[in-house]
Amino acid sequence: MPKVSMTVNGQPVSANVDPRTLLVQFLRENLSLTGTHVGCDTSQCGCCVVHVNGEALKSCTALAISLEGAQVTTIEGLAQDGKLHPMQEAFRENHGLQCGFCTPGMIMTAVDMVRRSGGDLDEKTIRHELEGNICRCTGYHNIVKAIAAGAAAMAPAAE
């Protein structure tokens, strides 16, 4: 089996993998990083969103081996020194989750959104940007609120 090496949440990792191993399987099964979820496995729901080289992608639709050398950030990599990331904190504050299954993907997508569009996000932009993330519980209302608040809280940190 070919070897793949990448950096996940700042840690160098490598493993021999079957080429068909998806990034999400690699994260969950090889690295035991089970915060990244699989909702649909067909690229629709966004539960599996992680950042690769700083950009959001659906880890159920990428081969681990393809990402040789990549910098990967998962939901586990957001909190720093035991302190929640501002976007995580905003989801908590605004009750932006119910069962929590979609939440890791929602938060990773939200952080990517702020990186691209800045901290001042209106509701229309947020809803539009959430096209690839599905939530079965909340009706999105509090997710949208949480993202707006999280974006504003992230703004001073973003350059």
Binding site: R20, G46, L63, M113, E131
Partner: protein, 267 residues
């Protein structure tokens, strides 16, 4: 997903060499279509040739009166390209309407045009702008390229390296999207270059993307929504599925064309 061997060449030429040598291989671009298809076992290639390291297949440049886009250029990069936004804003807008942000970070123009999904967006732009598909061995005019559902003029192992888009005088794309998949139920790309008007329709035809000749003639005479007054589109040969029936799609073609023309003339 069945097992496969994995190849990762770093140039287009090496990719083609590998394809010629190995049996039953497929190119892997963004994987946004191919990987789900393999998971469903609708495709089971013996090998994948990953194009992600072929840097010579990426990038956007101005060549004379054409915008030339490398096959591995992602939807995200086309949507945000200063050059495309200035020269063919309709094309940048179209790329920004594909799927969702995560899909746009991976999916490529070459993958979309090679796949020729009957509801995909890019084929309408390629056809309406009269683009040229450049492969490792030849240049294919858009009018000769699309051959039906998921069918193209590409031969076994033939690699799209670039797509060259002539810059139009005016163009616009209007898409009536399926709210769940984001694919087009009907998408219409309208382009005017000199006196020539081309109208390409995606999402509607039971044989994939096509040109709407009757609308082209009317718009050549009068390139305004009014130019289409009194014209309707026949439902013959249009798709009926759970999302929309042929009559509804026929009606949408008229509405989307009018909107696209309005948008094109108001830029």
């Amino acid at each position: 997903m069945y097992a496969f061997t994995y190849h990762r060449p770093d140039t287009a030429r090496k990719a083609v060499n590998t394809a010629t040598k190995a049996e039953d291989v497929k190119f892997l671009a963004g994987g946004m279509t191919l990987l789900p298809t393999m998971k469903q076992r609708l495709a089971a290639p013996a090998g994948l040739i990953d194009l992600s390291r072929c840097d010579d297949m990426r990038g956007i440049e101005l060549k004379g009166r054409n915008v030339v886009i490398g096959a591995m250029t992602r939807h995200f990069d086309v949507a945000n390209s200063e050059l495309v936004r200035e020269k063919i804003p309709a094309l940048a807008e179209l790329a920004g309407m594909i799927g969702d942000p995560a899909v746009r970070h991976r999916g490529t123009i070459g993958g979309s045009v090679a796949n020729n999904d009957p509801a995909a967006d890019y084929p309408s732009a390629v056809l309406a702008l009269g683009a040229t598909i450049i492969t490792n061995k030849r240049k294919i005019a858009a009018d000769d390229y699309f051959k039906g559902l998921f069918e193209t003029a590409l031969e076994e192992g033939e690699l799209i390296t670039k797509i060259s888009f002539p810059i139009p005088a005016k163009a616009a794309y209007e898409k009536f999207r399926n709210p769940a998949s984001r694919y087009a139920i009907v998408g219409v790309f309208v382009a005017k270059k000199g006196r020539d008007v081309r109208v390409a329709v995606t999402g509607a035809g039971s044989n994939g993307v096509f040109r709407a000749a009757k609308f082209e003639a009317a718009l050549t005479a009068n390139f305004r929504p009014k130019g289409l007054d009194g014209l309707t589109f026949s439902a013959d040969g249009l798709n009926t599925d759970m999302h929309a029936d042929a009559e509804y799609r026929a009606h949408l073609i008229t509405v989307m064309t009018r909107r696209a023309v309005q948008k094109a003339i108001s830029r």
